[in-house]
């Protein structure tokens, strides 16, 4: 029996040095850009360099574009931060969209129903409380059922998204302006009641600062607090949690309440801070993109800033190339997909290495 020895084999790495790790990631991105370049040339005949420059331009070209980049990052990061503790607890909260939408609904309801009757400061305080409560309610319902009856949280949170969308659709019809338009339009355009104050002349700065605060808070909460320790233990093993005397049900509900609260804030920032309106698509699927952001960063809030940047940059860049070069919308998605694929697969090379087999002679 004379088998040929395998030419290569795969072996698990020990700890990897940080510069090697970043080197591997850099190579992955470079390879992705190279492949995207070839595909661009083959499929569209465009100069790939020009395409990349346009992508950069779409994000950094003007100061308005740059602020839009930051604003989009802030909102996406906010949802992702909400998901991180739940995911660390191995509670697969796919309801970020619905929870944020409920927060937005709460904020819009306050602006529309009591906007003109009370002072602005009081209104904003009420909006904050209502949005957060709405988000919490939407998150705690599946958490309660999971804790009490062991229901599957993935399906439950997912379904709650649809319920939230329908609720918002219902209220949009009730509050539509003008009647029959099917849209709410800008709320309190004339009085600006419930609009968040601007810092200086920039409309987005306040949102960005708030989200940065939440980032630091979540980092400290997960890393240093007793709550954060408890939810990590519950996520790793329920048997261990029980052994340690941790009340698992309480931790599940508490963590999801936090998750829902931050989602509620996301909705609040969207309605009160930037859009000043309510639509069923206002959250724009960020509850799902946020899942990717959180996982890519392995739930580290500060690394999540980098992963949000990556995703928002790709999204805005692809939108720019589709308009400038008149390409099909899907082309941007293809480029985004390829780059993400390379980045995700670089993880494999961080954990494993491929070694060339020494021939029998060399070994002897």
């Amino acid at each position: 029996m004379h088998n040929k020895a395998p030419r290569f084999y795969i072996a698990r790495r020990g700890d990897i040095l940080w510069y090697k790790a970043w080197g591997i990631r850099a190579i992955a991105i470079a390879l992705a850009l190279l492949l995207c370049g070839f595909i661009t040339m083959a499929a569209t005949g465009l100069d790939p360099i020009k395409v990349y420059v346009t992508m950069l331009d779409g994000n950094f070209g003007t100061s308005r574009r740059f602020w839009m980049l930051l604003q989009n990052m802030a909102i996406l990061l906010c949802v992702s931060l909400a998901l991180a503790p739940a995911f660390r607890m191995h509670f697969w909260n796919l309801g970020g969209d619905g929870q944020s939408l409920m927060g937005a609904l709460g904020a819009a309801a306050c602006m529309i129903c009591i906007g003109d009757r009370i002072p602005n400061v009081l209104l904003i305080i009420i909006m904050i409380a209502v949005s957060i409560s709405c988000g919490i309610i939407w998150a705690v319902i599946p958490a309660y059922f999971k804790a009490r009856f062991g229901t599957n949280e993935t399906l439950f949170t997912l379904m709650m998204n649809y319920v939230a969308t329908q609720l918002v659709a219902f209220f949009v019809i009730i509050w539509e302006v003008p009647k029959g338009s099917g849209k709410i339009g800008i709320i309190n355009q004339s009085t600006q009641a419930g609009w968040f104050p601007q810092i200086g002349t920039n409309k987005y700065l306040l949102n960005i600062i708030i989200v940065l605060f939440i980032t630091v808070f979540i980092f400290i909460y997960m890393r240093y607090s007793k709550h954060g320790y408890e939810l990590a233990v519950v996520g790793e093993s329920e048997a261990t949690a029980r052994y340690a005397g941790i009340k698992i049900n309480r931790v599940i509900i508490r963590t999801m309440a936090l998750s829902g609260a931050i989602c509620g804030i996301t909705g609040l920032l969207l309605v009160g801070g930037t859009d000043h309106t309510l639509t069923t698509t206002i959250v724009a699927g960020r509850g799902f993109t946020g899942v990717m952001v959180a996982w890519l960063a392995k739930f580290n809030p500060f690394v999540m800033i980098a992963t949000t940047f990556l995703l928002v940059f790709l999204e805005r860049g692809s939108a720019e190339i589709t308009t400038i070069f008149g390409l099909n919308q899907s082309f941007g998605d293809i480029i985004t997909g390829i780059i993400l694929f390379f980045i995700l697969s670089s993880d494999f090379f961080l954990n494993y290495k491929i070694t060339k087999t020494k021939t029998q002679k060399e070994a002897a």
């Binding site: 029996m1 004379h2 088998n3 040929k4 020895a5 395998p6 084999y9 072996a11 698990r12 790495r13 020990g14 700890d15 240093y224 607090s225 007793k226 709550h227 320790y229 408890e230 990590a232 233990v233 790793e236 093993s237 048997a239 261990t240 029980r242 052994y243 340690a244 005397g245 941790i246 009340k247 070694t355 087999t357 020494k358 029998q360 070994a363 002897a364």
Partner: protein
Amino acid sequence: MDAKTPVLGLSHLTKRFGKVVANEDVCLDVYEGEILALLGENGSGKTTLMNMISGIYFPDEGEIYFKGEPVVIASPKDAFSLGIGMIHQHFKLVDILSATENIILGMEEKPDLNKSADRIKAICEKYGFDIDPYKKIYEMSVSEKQTVEIVKVLYRGAQLLILDEPTAVLTPQETEKLFEVLRNMKKDGKSVIIITHKLQEVLDISDRVAILRKGRYICDVETASANVQELTDAMVGHSVSLNIERPEPVNPKKRIVVENLTVFDEEGVCKLKDVSFTAKSGEIIGIAGIAGNGQKELLEAIAGLQQVDSGHIYYIGDDKSRQELIGKDPLEIMDLGVSLSFVPEDRLGMGLVANMGLADNMMLRSFRKGNSVFTDRKRPRELAASIVERLEVNTPGIATMVRKLSGGNVQKVLVGREISTAPTVLLTAYAVRGLDINSSYTIYDLINQQKKAGVAVVYVGEDLDVLLELCDRILVLCDGQVSGLLDARETDKREVGYLMTNLRGEAHAQ
């Protein structure tokens, strides 16, 4: 021996995982019709070496010879076609299939269940196995499952069998049966490599012993001329004392009183029935029994982790105060001021958080201390560092995830944490399971120190020799009931083994 050609020859095998060298320059021969015992401490590279022979790992350097010819074993399939079969510690069987179906699973011949069953019966008869080819795996005991695994490799025509700690899950009687089968195989000209930590078994069954230490091949000796002390010294690399101390209990006082404890599991199966006993301070009470006869439920009931149907568990304080522990969770028991430490059977699944570092694991039971919303991170780090130093835990650092440590080191971390709280009661379940001899003796020492400090120790064990040497009294469980309470100084292995399989009444009747 010189005249024979080896069935299997390993020449200068080296295997590294990252910076860790699992095997270095190992040379070893296995001859036809011999039983070779492979001996070494945890992490000495026994399993890695066997995995290279059976095609799971590919060596970095070195060559393997089969019947004198150099061969390449790149996959388990290659190993099988050479006639090398490995029986792993964790069985790889499909629960809902029958023994026959499992045995022929994945073979390329056309399946014919009846014909295969006949062949299986023939194999069983030849070597003295006892198995029903049509029985489903989920209906089988651990020992039967192991038999299926062994028949599986024989069915595929294995000439060389590798068994990785086969006796760890067996009762003494089952072990004896397994050894009988192995001797029959040897007579049939087959070669067997057996990995075990139990030195007495090595002396009972093997013809030759090969010793590995730190990934290197140390020596091999004819079993006939070997003794336990020599083997241990060669394995550890220095001389060790093999006597387990048993100090007389000093001033024993009742600590835990269990009365008529009855436990049903979630499916309504009776796990414990009417169990009563007392654990005293300064004493070690051993719990003997075949695995799964209620030991786990008993300890977990005391620790507040098991739903109890009836009975009482009292904690008796120094001032003779009685506190009922049933119906309280671990936190409420802690709040009563009862310092109860528990080393559970499932170390990484219950006692520790596998994906956390040593330091983070230290605060698992104490992180609530203090009013701050933040965890105290300094004390756990100091505790981790002191345990690493005192118990000689082999770890890259205190931030290393515990799942990356070897079995013995994981156990030292767990036991170290549990005794660091100065408990009054210490419950241990299979504290030395899977541990090598050196680590085992470290654990026995730690338990004895606790005993001397006046702790009431409950020691659930599987090695009867150790139970007899270490404990003061032995409670034997059979089928969830107490079948005997023995004075460990007076009784012997036979009596304990008998009570493990026969309830009191039957024992007297015979």
